[in-house]
Symmetry: C2
Subunit: 241 residues, 2 copies
């Protein structure tokens, strides 16, 4: 069974929702049969690279709320994160474009390091004093190396804005096709969806339901033709074609 998670590194509910999903997955009896894949979704794709803003200023400008109201929202998120055992800085985070982060997550996927890198990005963004947006590309190189990637390869990808760009766009197109308007968005075997950072119980229900409804395959063949296949008893050699 496969679970795809659309998310953005700049999305606090994605950070919290991933922990809730993982709590459900850890307790799921068939967890060894579940493969998790991360998919790209940008919350703020129109923002230029290098256009960085403090999170509170961004929130209060975007919603016309006071700094205090924005801060209260962050405190709520901090409490939700803490309830999942996650550190969350409710002050002095900043916000920016995440396209390069997603490109690096696709490189990491190819190198078998995607889960490591997404966790390191989340932690740097939400829990640590290590901005993903204000410190230039070398901060991303530093984090990617912690995830087990090769520094030179990471620099090469960052220097070429077309590298893995198609992969990011393809994920975003698929999100739209699947009806995801926001993230986190969880898709189980392309059959069941969970939208948002739902409680772990909802993920347990989704995993259980998707596992129980793994459907038998519908075989497609050419009717009467012999199957040209090999099995434990040898390879079939059809007599004619």
């Amino acid at each position: 069974m496969r679970v795809e998670i659309w998310s953005d590194i700049a999305c606090p509910w994605c950070y919290v929702g991933k922990a809730r999903f993982e709590k459900a997955l850890e307790a799921f009896p068939h967890r060894d049969g579940v493969e998790v894949v991360h998919r790209s979704f940008e919350l703020d794709p129109g923002r230029a690279k290098g256009d960085v803003q403090p999170v509170l200023a961004m929130l209060s400008k975007k919603y016309g709320m006071s700094q205090a109201q924005a801060q209260a929202g962050e405190e709520n998120l901090g409490a939700q994160a803490a309830a999942e055992g996650l550190d969350y800085r409710t002050r002095d985070r900043d916000h920016g474009n995440t396209f390069d982060l997603h490109r690096l997550l696709h490189l990491a996927k190819e190198r078998g390091r995607q889960d490591e890198l997404i966790q390191i990005f989340y932690r740097a963004n939400f829990a640590e004093e290590r901005s993903l947006f204000s410190e230039g590309d070398e901060r991303l190189v530093e984090l990617a190396v912690e995830a087990g990637l090769d520094a030179d390869e990471v620099r090469k990808v960052l220097a070429d804005p077309t590298a893995y760009a198609d992969e990011v766009r393809a994920d975003e197109r698929e999100a739209a096709e699947l009806g995801a308007n926001g993230v986190p968005f969880f898709v189980l075997d392309r059959k069941y969806g969970v939208s948002g950072a739902q409680p772990a119980e909802v993920f347990t229900q989704a995993l259980t339901q998707a596992w129980g409804n793994r459907s038998p395959l519908q075989l497609i063949d050419q009717g009467a033709a012999d199957a040209e296949a090999c099995g434990p008893d040898g390879c079939a050699v059809p007599q004619q074609h």
Copy 2:
């Protein structure tokens, strides 16, 4: 859409079937939306590592056929392969246990080199004078390096028989659960199956049918609760829990 292909490197119909599938995929209009994953299947799991036999001797002993009959079967396979533009040695190949090959293919998957390695293994086994079974581990290292893997990492995996063993067994368990008794076995979105090296037209039909029947997601949630999610318009902050 995802296509999983269960196969064994020692399986000639897998070699031919992969080429037929790829012909269909190349012509498929939505090919950029198709992800291909290779899964492990051993035709001869009971054979000990190092127990190597010429293919013709193995065939004639296993089926009680004459050397000439076994040779005729190989000639037929060679003709089928040639029709797909593949080289095929109809003489002097050998046969052995493929567990280590599958373990390396799982390493390659993690490093983003699986498709390269499976192609190199097939070519070495069926087309070239480079035995996968008679030359010891260094032959496998040589081929894995050609696929872009790191020699030391490959040697480490070969030296540790538990490395990626669970992944191989999990693939084989899934094949059994899906009803695959032989390979190649193609599974599209866990919904449609194609058994055997069917003609490219059958794969075209399967791809078309699976693409057209990508089903809308069934959303699982907790009913009335607000979704804790972030979208282009910001992050929802539910008022109560």
